[in-house]
């Protein structure tokens, strides 16, 4: 039995993602041509040999269930242990809305956490585009003797976030809550390694006092009481997808070779649900520049600075620039699209023009005909 047990938070629907999360959670958002955001967390666990993993979900999780299945694509379809999908059960009576915080989400599946056969729990957020080397985090956690290790980034998030300010010894001195923009210390990616005993103590204490903020309540109290919180800085690309604008921007970041190298290093491959696809065919008049294209597409038109998911059809004369076209979509002849996100299986009839902006891309909802 491994000393480490993984838990991925995939319940957040993140309203700022608008129509993209009409029928999915942020963690199951299609990303980078063939992945879902949660693939990064699942693959990080897999690449560190953590194959006992629970995924906490709350609603709109059909697409997540479909994507993860038995977990076999991440070697987590095991006879013993392996992947466990954790939809809500045993919610407190007063609870009607979304999980208010990490602690509440954990308490909603508290039996599962209590029964985990592991000394340490590894927590990751399902909506993070980052290839985190959990082996390195584990090594640091064990070497420093920290009770909690917080996974952080030096990159400045474009949403409200918490920050850790560390002393020279690598342990956190203080925390800054709800920061917008740059600040002291490093930004929390809200991923942690924590001993199971300590985590359960925090869950119980918070439940007893009706507290549910992992950072402001549990960790801050622990730190104030002299607890040892280590800070691990993840050096590669890291973005939590919290808004349509970040989603669009992060998607486009993947066109840069240095970002791709950080998101998809050869030594830590990102696995995803495997599909029966064909290679992509580029037609006689195809013109494709600076774009990521998944398999199974037939491209006859022009595609520049765009992300094209699998099984997409782009007809002759169509011109796409700065677009994200998701699986199974069909773009008709002579269509012109700029800064448009076409969700799965959407169809754009010939001779139409849609122009969005980088700040506010136009979203064509899933399954729609335009």
């Amino acid at each position: 039995m491994s000393d480490f047990h993984g838990i991925i938070f995939a319940y957040g629907s993140v309203k700022q993602l608008g129509e993209l999360v009409n029928s999915r959670t942020a963690a199951s958002l299609p990303f980078c041509g063939r992945y879902r955001l949660i693939d990064f967390a699942l693959s990080s666990m897999m690449n560190a040999g953590i194959l006992d993993v629970g995924v906490i979900m709350q609603r709109d999780y059909q697409s997540l269930l479909d994507h993860i299945g038995s977990g076999k694509d991440w070697d987590m379809g095991r006879r013993i242990g392996g992947l466990r999908l954790l939809p809500p059960f045993g919610l407190p009576e007063y609870h009607k809305g979304d999980y208010t915080g990490t602690i509440e989400a954990l308490n909603a599946v508290s039996t599962y956490v209590r029964e985990a056969h592991a000394k340490y729990i590894v927590l990751l957020q399902g909506n993070t585009a980052a290839n985190i080397d959990l082996k390195a985090v584990i090594r640091q956690h064990l070497d420093t003797g920290a009770e909690i290790t917080a996974i952080c980034t030096e990159q400045t998030p474009d949403y409200r976030h918490h920050r850790y300010v560390a002393d020279a010894d690598g342990f956190a001195r203080s925390m800054i809550f709800n920061q917008t923009g740059d600040g002291d210390g490093v930004a929390s990616l809200e991923g942690y390694i924590i001993s199971k005993e300590l985590l359960i103590g925090m869950m119980d204490a918070c439940a007893a006092s009706n507290h549910y903020h992992f950072h402001r309540d549990a960790i801050a109290d622990y730190l104030a009481a002299g607890g040892k919180v280590g800070v691990y800085v993840h050096r590669g690309y890291a973005k939590r997808i919290m808004s349509l604008e970040t989603y669009f921007k992060s998607s486009m970041d993947a066109l840069k070779p240095e970002c791709r190298a950080e998101l998809f290093p050869a030594e830590r491959p990102v696995r995803t649900k495997s599909r029966e696809d064909v290679s992509t065919y580029y037609g006689e008049k195809a013109f494709v520049r600076n774009s990521l294209v998944a398999d199974g597409c037939i491209i006859e038109g022009e595609v520049t600075n765009s992300i094209v998911f699998s099984d997409v059809r782009i007809a002759k004369g169509a011109k796409l620039n700065n677009c994200i076209v998701m699986r199974g979509s069909e773009i008709g002849e002579n269509v012109i699209l700029s800064a448009v996100i076409a969700d799965k299986y959407s169809t754009v009839a010939p001779y139409q023009t849609l122009v969005g902006s980088q700040k506010l891309p136009i979203v064509i909802p899933k399954n729609s005909n335009i």
């Binding site: 791709r260 990102v270 290679s279 992509t280 580029y282 520049r289 294209v293 998944a294």
Partner: protein, 397 residues
């Protein structure tokens, strides 16, 4: 567990005419058509036709093929009662054991495997054909015609007939005679090397053939003629779809080029998917100055140069100002900046260093041919590999 029909897939051939490409791997494991390995075609056909038990007979360099097929999960052949089984030659108590000495002998040596499933019929397949075929239709005809053996046949031109085993038919449509590579063909129906046999009958002929010291233990040369001689009913099942044998460099190259035309073989048809073991690489990246025309490209590729009329398997790379024309790049092949690859097949993980030139366009001469570079080699910077060359060691250039 009783099965009505199981498949036996002959995947032991060496593919000696593809030498540079098959020195370390069995031909059925050869990357093909961007996304596939050759064996994906018969395995997918089995899965799509509802045949859930497949024995794969291996002999030559089977290691990579074994790990590729593994539990058969990509083809949904990982069922509880049935599945895909790798069958190497083996030794029985008190016997010395021997290699498979012919296609019929390979099946003879696995009579024990077949009898575990007690099938009514056995489908014999070859691991080096590219085609989409519904074996259940062939099986239906086999039963309707009450045949001891049904042979899939393809109409070919009379010029091509001398390369195939040809079927001459009786008035009532059953097979009268089988002629191996006839000089003066009497019919235009070529055997595709795909057979359905009534198992009880096949078993009898296999045992008889095994005891015939003069026999070369081959289905086409021995078993079929013996059945005809004995007056068995052999029915030709006419197939009119796309079918290619990829036994030579030219035919392998041709068939890859055919994948560029959906009118020849439509791989995008969701009704008949050809499945392969997924490799899961990031999507292909097409660079700022890339140009890709009339080509198929696969996940993990990074294209910065010019690609035209070509087939690129996963993770191939084409550098800046490099050209890949009328060529096949197998998985992980790298064409560095400024290199030119034309009318060529480049093996897995082979690197064409910058400024090298591999292959050339047809010049109408007899000697012209497709250039081939085997897997895991390096063609040094500025080197020239001529048309028709077959390179399998880095030192050769």
């Amino acid at each position: 567990m009783k099965k009505s029909c199981i498949a036996m897939l002959l995947a032991g051939g060496q593919g000696s005419r593809l030498y540079a490409l098959t020195q370390n791997v069995a031909k059925p494991n050869m990357p093909f058509g961007g996304k596939y390995r050759i064996i994906d075609f018969p395995l997918s056909n089995c899965a799509n036709s509802g045949i859930d038990t497949v024995g794969v007979l291996t002999q030559y360099r089977p290691l990579q093929l074994n790990s590729y097929i593994a539990g058969g999960q990509p083809w949904d052949l990982d069922s509880n009662d049935g599945g895909v089984f790798i069958l190497p030659p083996y030794q029985s108590a008190g016997e010395k054991g021997s290699w498979f000495s012919g296609t019929a002998n390979a099946i003879y040596q696995n009579i024990g495997f077949i009898e575990m499933y007690d099938p009514d019929d056995v489908l014999i397949l070859s691991g080096d054909h590219i085609y989409k075929m519904d074996y259940s239709k062939m099986l239906r005809e086999h039963h309707e015609r009450d045949a001891a053996c049904t042979i899939a046949v393809l109409q070919v031109s009379l010029e091509d007939a001398s390369r195939f085993g040809m079927m001459n038919l009786r008035q009532d449509g059953y097979v009268e005679q089988f002629e191996e590579k006839p000089k003066h063909p009497k019919s235009d129906l070529a055997s595709m090397g795909i057979y359905i046999f009534n198992w009880k009958k096949l078993r009898k002929y296999l045992v008889e053939d095994e005891n015939d010291p003069a026999s070369s233990k081959d289905f086409g040369k021995n078993i079929i003629p013996k059945m005809l001689e004995a007056g068995e009913k052999l029915w030709p099942y006419r197939f009119d779809g796309y079918w290619r044998d990829v036994g030579t460099i030219t035919s392998l190259w041709d068939a890859n080029m055919d994948m560029l035309s959906t009118t020849l073989i439509n791989l995008y048809d969701p009704e008949w998917p050809i499945r392969s073991r997924p490799v899961v690489r990031p999507p292909q990246y097409v660079g700022e100055n890339a140009e890709i025309v009339h080509s198929i490209v696969t996940e993990g590729c990074v294209i910065e140069g010019h690609v035209e009329n070509s087939v690129l398997s996963n993770s191939a790379q084409v550098g800046k100002d490099a050209s890949v024309l009328y060529s096949v790049l197998m998985p992980g092949a790298v064409v560095e900046d400024g290199a030119v690859v034309e009318y060529a097949i480049i093996g897995e993980n082979t690197v064409i260093k910058s400024g090298a030139h591999v292959g050339s366009a047809p010049d109408g001469s007899e000697e012209w041919g497709v250039a081939t570079c085997g897997p895991d080699i390096e063609i040094s910077a500025g080197a020239v590999v001529g048309a028709g060359a077959m390179i399998y060691k880095s030192e050769e250039v």
